[in-house]
């Protein structure tokens, strides 16, 4: 028999395996695809440009896994944990394992739901592949990063921390917002906004940062995961265009979701901005440069003119994101620095070289507004009073980030927006987060805000040591200042023994 073309194989192995139910009303088989107001007339119009079939999916995924596990073995055999630029770098991995890996698992579960509940066989199969991918990402991230867990603090108990720790409620609440929405909003939020629109801002800097800092392990799982990511991006963009093409009435609904999920995703990425500019011992690109390249050039310059055809405009509150590219990372890293006594990672003051790099990368803002903060922090540290903020911060009801962002363009005034709902008072970090709350107040009043929970007595006790114990954070090792941490002490010892001939 002659070899079938990709097109024929896809048609036979994906589309042709579907059937139309006759004993049961299709609306009973697929009950969740009508209540959001999205109108779909022809599910067969969904195109998967990859034309992926189950046999080729398995073949290439197996190959990716073989490559990855070969690298993990040689990493362990070659003492890969010693090859980093500096032990400080591992703190970026701690945030990744605590905050991103659990999202991969949540994505695995929700794509499995879509793989059952979307009406068309094309999108169901694409969702099934993505569900398996996300589980693979969870597993490979845990396996690779466990290599570091043998030698560095803060990498244990990551899944417990994801459920409990204050800064991890930011990614957790973001994703739970998405999976508690309907299937079409989920596709818009995660598949399109996160996986297509914003993904490069998260993964490409992480992978290049890993490569630049000698982190073979992260680079390997990162590239292995990213090779699936192009399929996920395609699913996201494909989903959006499919929905827009099905019915004109879908356009305003999609625009509204896009407005919401751009801002949700962008606020989440402020943690990545801080990581890029402050937590990589060797830096290759600032947050500002990454935002300009991956968002302004590629998305605003490339994608949005394409979407204009459907009547979609760039997202609401975009101007604020563009204004903030000059200072967002400084505001967020200062927050992490001053609250790291309650976090499962270490922070420290940037070195003089790094301060100069920040000045050069942010000529309009850094020397005037942020270098003086670090000079003051250095004076305090030199006099034996490393600065930690001992209070509990007010959180934004929507993104759950402490109130640290300023009025757009005014770096001296913390922005706070407020409103009443059902007799209660709620606070927000920005117009974007307030706008999101205003759309669905009944949803966001249910937020599990870590600070409120501590005050209500739900987090192990009223003192910091009690709360840290409940978080699973080992006080004096996992948290606080890097220069006095066990990670730094071990690193110095390993390096010293290498220099003197080794033991």
């Amino acid at each position: 028999m002659a070899k079938l073309s990709m097109r024929e194989r896809y048609s036979l192995l994906t589309r042709d395996l579907d059937w139309t139910p006759t004993y049961v009303d299709p609306k009973v088989v697929y009950p969740y695809t009508r209540y959001e107001g999205i109108k779909i007339h022809d599910w067969d119009a969904w195109e998967d440009p990859f034309r992926l079939t189950v046999d080729s999916y398995c073949k290439y995924q197996a190959e990716k896994d073989k490559k990855l596990y070969a690298v993990i073995e040689s990493f362990a055999q070659g003492q890969g944990h010693l090859h980093l630029t500096d032990a400080r770098y591992v703190n970026a991995l701690k945030i990744f394992l605590q905050g991103v890996t659990p999202l991969e698992y949540a994505a695995h579960r929700h794509f499995e739901y879509l793989a059952r509940h979307l009406d068309g066989p094309g999108p169901r199969f694409a969702a099934l592949c993505q569900s398996i991918d996300e589980l693979r990402h969870t597993q490979t991230e845990v396996h690779t990063l466990s290599q570091y867990n043998k030698y560095y603090s803060g990498l244990h108990s990551w899944s417990k921390m994801y459920d409990r720790v204050w800064y991890l409620s930011v990614p957790k609440s973001f994703f739970e917002d998405a999976i508690t929405a309907g299937p079409f909003e989920f596709l818009t939020s995660i598949s399109f906004s996160f996986e297509y629109l914003l993904t490069n801002l998260l993964f490409v800097p992480f992978m290049s940062g890993a490569s630049f800092n000698g982190d073979l392990a992260t680079m390997t799982f990162g590239f292995s995961a990213q090779s699936d990511e192009s399929r996920h991006m395609t699913l996201g963009l494909g989903a959006l265009k499919f929905i827009l093409e099905q019915d004109e009435a879908n356009v305003p609904i999609i625009q509204d979701w896009l407005d919401k999920w751009f801002w949700r995703g962008y606020r989440l990425l402020s943690l990545v901005a801080a990581m890029m500019d402050y937590m990589l011992p060797k830096r290759f690109m600032s947050w500002k440069e990454a935002f300009e390249l991956y968002f302004e050039e590629q998305m605003l310059g490339g994608l949005f003119p394409d979407l204009e055809y459907y009547g979609i405009r760039p997202p609401r509150h975009l101007e604020q994101a563009i204004t903030e590219k000059d200072y967002m990372s400084h505001q967020v890293y200062w927050l992490l620095y001053t609250f790291s006594h309650a976090a499962s990672f270490n922070t420290t003051i940037p070195t003089p070289d790094e301060l100069d790099w920040l000045s050069a990368s942010y000529p309009d803002t850094f020397d005037r507004h942020y270098r003086p903060l670090w000079d003051r922090a250095q004076q305090l540290a030199d006099s034996g009073h490393r600065f930690f903020n001992r209070g509990l911060p007010m959180l934004c009801q929507t993104c759950q980030i402490p109130m640290t962002f300023t009025e757009p363009g005014d770096m001296d005034t913390i922005a706070v927006r407020s409103r009443e709902f059902r007799g209660e008072h709620f606070n927000f970090c920005s117009d974007g987060c307030k706008w999101i709350f205003d759309r669905e107040p009944e949803k966001y009043v249910q937020a599990w805000l870590p600070v409120h929970q501590i005050y209500q007595g739900n987090c192990g006790g009223a003192t910091i040591p009690e709360v840290l114990a409940w978080y699973g954070i080992q006080d004096g090792a996992d948290n606080g200042e890097y220069l006095t941490s066990p990670d730094k002490a071990s690193w110095d010892q390993w390096k010293a023994s290498a220099q003197s001939g080794g033991t």
């Binding site: 990709m6 440009p49 990859f50 034309r51 490069n200 605003l300 310059g301 003119p305």
Partner: protein
């Protein structure tokens, strides 16, 4: 947003690997004016308007058989739309 006068860029980010070097050579041969930028661990190829990857050109560079599905092993990210992906070629461009 105005699109007049300017041809929009499309591009791919690829893992920096031996196979990718052959792929990049093939892309450069088939897409005159392609720009290649090296970043840590990554190679980024951009073109104006459209980017084509042809199976035959890649095979010639690799010196072995190559199916277009295998491109998944190299790709890290892309921008543009995957307009075509069949047995002989992959085309990335903006649609509208």
């Amino acid at each position: 947003m105005s699109t007049t006068g300017k041809v929009r860029q499309v591009g791919v980010d690829l893992q920096d690997s031996e196979d990718t070097h052959a792929l990049v050579d093939a892309i450069e041969a088939d897409n005159p004016g392609a720009e290649v930028v090296h970043m840590p661990g990554l190679i980024r190829v951009t073109t104006a308007g459209e980017l084509v990857i042809r199976r035959e050109s890649v095979q010639e560079q690799l010196g072995r058989d190559w199916e277009t599905h295998e491109f998944q092993m190299n790709i890290v990210s892309y921008f543009g739309t995957i307009a075509e992906w069949d047995d002989d070629k992959i085309v990335i461009k903006w649609e509208h």
